[in-house]
C-alpha cells in the first residue's frame, strides 16, 4: 500500500489522462472535446515533468559549490566540496516543446470550431451529423 502511495506522481498522471480521455469519448460538444484533449495532454506533460525529478535534486541552475570548512571534523584542512544534486532538465525542455505544440493544436481546434459554428449553427456533434444526413437525403431526392 505504501509503495503504491509513493507512486502518487504516476497515479496523478493516470487520473488526469484518463479524465481527459473520457471527456473526449463521452462528450459530443466539440469545445468540450478540445478541453478533454487539452487535459489529456496535460497528463502527459505532468508525466514528463515527473520524469526529470531527481530525489533531493534542485533546479538545474549552476550553483557555486558550497565549501565545507569545518575544522572540528577529522578531515584535513583541505576543503570538501559538497556535491549538489540537480534534477534532469532535459525532459522539462522536451515538454516545453510539447506544450507549445499542444497550444497550437488547441488554437487550430478552436479556430475550426468557430468555422463549424458559422457553417452549421451548432457545435454539438449530434446536430452536425443530423444536418449532414439531411443534406445527403436532399441530394438523393433531387435525383
Amino acid at each position: 500500500m505504501v509503495e503504491w502511495l509513493a507512486l502518487y506522481n504516476d497515479w496523478a498522471v493516470i487520473v488526469i489522462m484518463m479524465a481527459g480521455f473520457y471527456i473526449m469519448i463521452a462528450r459530443y460538444n466539440l469545445v468540450k472535446k478540445i478541453i478533454g484533449l487539452s487535459i489529456f495532454q496535460t497528463g502527459i506533460f505532468y508525466f514528463y515533468v515527473g520524469l526529470g525529478k531527481v530525489e533531493n535534486g534542485t533546479a538545474p541552475i549552476f550553483l557555486e559549490p558550497k565549501v565545507i570548512d569545518d575544522s572540528t571534523t577529522n578531515i584535513a584542512a583541505g576543503a570538501v566540496e559538497q556535491t549538489i544534486i540537480y534534477s534532469n532538465p532535459l525532459p522539462h525542455v522536451l515538454i516545453l516543446t510539447a506544450i507549445v505544440v499542444g497550444v497550437a493544436t488547441m488554437a487550430l481546434g478552436l479556430a475550426l470550431i468557430v468555422r463549424i459554428y458559422e457553417k452549421y449553427g451548432s457545435i454539438e456533434e449530434d446536430d452536425i451529423q443530423a444536418i449532414d444526413n439531411k443534406f445527403i437525403c436532399q441530394l438523393d431526392d433531387k435525383k
Binding site: L37, T105, L108, K119
Partner: protein, 506 residues
C-alpha cells in the same frame, strides 16, 4: 552525383524558410512559384542523397556540430532516402497539379495560405523521415499533422471538410500524444533520445515493464496515425472532403511516412527479435491487417463517391503493407516497402484523376458520371491504368508488389494469407471495375454535357507522369525492387552503433 553532407539539413530548412515567404508574398502566383522552386530543389537534393545512400553509405549529420548522443542527429540510410525521394517527388507533382485544381476549391485570397501550409507539411514529413532523434519524430509529426488539418479544412467550400478536419485533429492528436508518451517511457528506461543509442541500450533493460509500456503506447499511436484497421475512422472523411490536391498528397505520403516510423521503431530501435520474437507484435498485427484489407475492400465496393472508394481502398492497402511487415522476414519487409513505394504513386495518380473529373464536373458521385470517357478520354484512361495497377494486373506496378507480397506469404508458409490477399484483389476488381464501367460503357445524363472539355494540360501532365512511372516500374520492376531489398536488409541488419556514446546522462 554531387553530394554534400549539408544536403540533409537543407531538405528541412528550405521548405521551412519558403513557407513564411509565401505568407509574406500573399500573391497566389508568386507563392506557387516559391513553393515550386523550393520543392524542385528538394527533389534534386533528395535524389542526390538517394544515389549517395544506395552506394552503401549511411549519412549521419550532426545538427549544429553537436556530437550524436548529446545533440540531434540526422540519420539517413536506405529506407529514409527512398521515402524522402518519393515524398518530395509526389509533393512536386501534386504541387504542379494543385495550381489549377485549387482555383475551384479554395477562395483565391487564401491560396497563399494553402502553399504555406503545404510547405510546412512537407517540412514535417521530410523531418520525420530524416531525423535520427526519437523526440524530433514527435515534433515533426505534429508539424506535418497540424498543417495537414489546416489543408483539409481549406476545402471548406464543402462544409463537411471542417468536421472531417476536426475529427482528424482529435484522433491525430491522441495518436501523437500516445507516441509522445511512449517515447517518454523509452527515455525513462534508457536515458537517451538518439535512435541508435536507444537501440544500443534497450537490450540491457529489455524486460522492464517501462519498455513494454512504451512499446505498447507507440504501437497504438502509430496505428492511429497509419489508419490501421480498427482506428481508421478519420481517414475516409478527410480524403473525401479535403481539396483534391490535398487528398492526392495525403494519400501518397502521410500514412506512408507513419508507416516509416513504424518500421524505424520496431525494426531498428526495438529490434526485430525483440518486437516480433519476444513481444509477438506480429500476432497482433497480422489478424488486424488481414481483417483490415478484407473488410475495407468489401466496404469500398458499396461506396458511391469515388474518393470514398479510394479512401477505403487506401486502408485496405495499409492492411497489405502491415501483413507484409508482420512476417518479419526479409522477403516480407521487401514486399512491404515495394508496396509502400508503388502504392504511393498509384493512389496519388488515382486521386489526381478524380480531382480532374471533379474540376470539370463538380462531382465525384459515381451515379452522375456516366460515359465521361467521351468528354475526358485522357483522364479516364489514366484512371483506368492506375486502377488496373491497384488491382495488380500484370505490366503495372501493382502487379510487382502483389507478386512479392504473395510470394513472401508463401515463403513464410502462410498459404491462407496468400489466398486472402488474392481474394481481396478480386474485390479490387469489383470496386474499380464498377467505376470503369460507369466511365466507359454507361450512357446517361452526364453525356448531355458534351461541352465539358478535357482537364487542363497542367493537370494532365502530373497525372500522366505518375502513370508512366507506375507502368515503367511495372514492366521493369528491378529499380524499385532493388531499392526495397537494399533498405530491407539494412533495416534488418544490426545497425552500426554509435562508437562515441559515452556514459549515462541520467
Amino acid at each position: 552525383m554531387l553530394f554534400n553532407n549539408h544536403f540533409s539539413v537543407l531538405l528541412i530548412v528550405l521548405p521551412l524558410m519558403a513557407a513564411p515567404i509565401c505568407v509574406i508574398l500573399r500573391n497566389p502566383k508568386a507563392s506557387w512559384l516559391v513553393a515550386l522552386i523550393s520543392n524542385l530543389i528538394i527533389v534534386l537534393l533528395s535524389l542526390s542523397l538517394l544515389s549517395h545512400v544506395l552506394n552503401g553509405n549511411v549519412v549521419r549529420y550532426e545538427l549544429g556540430g553537436w556530437a550524436a548522443p548529446t545533440g540531434i542527429e540526422y540519420y539517413i540510410d536506405g529506407i529514409n532516402a527512398v521515402l524522402i525521394s518519393i515524398v518530395s517527388i509526389i509533393s512536386l507533382v501534386t504541387l504542379i497539379y494543385s495550381k489549377q485544381s485549387i482555383r475551384k476549391e479554395i477562395a483565391t485570397p487564401r491560396h497563399y495560405l494553402f502553399y504555406a501550409g503545404w510547405l510546412l507539411c512537407l517540412t514535417g514529413l521530410l523531418g520525420i523521415l530524416i531525423t535520427g532523434d526519437a523526440f524530433n519524430v514527435f515534433v515533426f509529426l505534429e508539424i506535418s499533422s497540424l498543417s495537414m488539418y489546416m489543408l483539409i479544412a481549406l476545402g471548406s467550400e464543402r462544409r463537411q471538410a471542417l468536421v472531417a478536419s476536426f475529427r482528424y485533429l482529435i484522433l491525430g492528436s491522441i495518436g501523437a500524444s500516445f507516441i509522445l508518451l511512449g517515447i517518454g517511457f523509452l527515455y525513462a528506461a534508457t536515458g537517451t533520445l538518439n535512435m541508435s543509442d536507444i537501440a544500443e541500450r534497450l537490450p540491457l533493460v529489455n524486460n522492464s515493464r517501462t519498455v513494454i509500456v512504451g512499446f505498447s503506447f507507440i504501437t497504438i499511436g502509430l496505428f492511429i496515425k497509419t489508419a490501421m484497421f480498427p482506428v481508421f475512422s478519420w481517414l475516409p472523411n478527410a480524403y473525401q472532403f479535403a481539396p483534391s490536391a490535398v487528398s492526392a498528397f495525403l494519400a501518397g505520403t502521410a500514412t506512408k511516412v507513419s508507416l516509416y516510423i513504424f518500421l524505424r521503431f520496431f525494426y531498428h530501435i526495438f529490434g526485430t527479435d525483440y518486437s516480433f520474437g519476444n513481444l509477438l507484435l506480429g500476432d497482433v498485427l497480422l489478424p488486424l491487417a488481414v481483417i483490415g484489407f478484407f473488410v475495407m475492400s468489401v466496404v469500398a465496393i458499396f461506396q458511391t463517391d469515388i474518393r470514398r472508394v479510394l479512401a477505403y481502398s487506401s486502408i485496405a492497402q495499409i492492411g497489405y503493407i502491415f501483413a507484409a511487415i508482420s512476417m518479419a522476414t526479409e522477403q516480407g519487409l521487401t514486399a512491404g516497402i515495394i508496396h509502400i513505394i508503388n502504392h504511393a504513386f498509384i493512389k496519388t495518380a488515382l486521386f489526381i484523376s478524380v480531382g480532374c473529373i471533379l474540376y470539370r464536373y463538380g462531382t465525384a458521385n459515381i451515379n452522375q458520371l456516366n460515359g465521361i470517357i467521351k468528354t475526358m478520354p485522357w483522364t479516364c484512361a489514366a484512371f483506368i491504368v492506375a486502377g488496373f495497377s491497384l488491382i495488380g494486373v500484370p505490366l503495372t506496378a501493382g502487379f510487382v508488389s502483389k507478386w512479392y507480397l504473395v510470394s513472401a506469404a508463401i515463403d513464410s508458409g502462410w498459404w491462407l494469407i496468400a489466398v486472402m490477399i488474392l481474394t481481396s484483389s478480386l474485390m479490387a476488381i469489383i470496386y474499380i471495375g464498377r467505376i470503369v464501367e460507369v466511365f466507359c460503357f454507361k450512357t446517361g445524363d452526364a453525356t448531355n454535357s458534351l461541352k465539358v472539355k478535357e482537364a487542363p494540360f497542367s493537370m494532365l501532365l502530373p497525372l500522366w507522369f505518375l502513370i508512366i512511372v507506375s507502368v515503367y516500374t511495372g514492366i521493369n520492376g528491378d529499380v524499385v525492387v532493388d531499392m526495397a531489398k537494399f533498405s530491407a536488409t539494412q533495416l534488418l541488419d544490426s545497425l552500426p552503433s554509435l562508437s562515441n556514446s559515452i556514459g549515462n546522462p541520467l
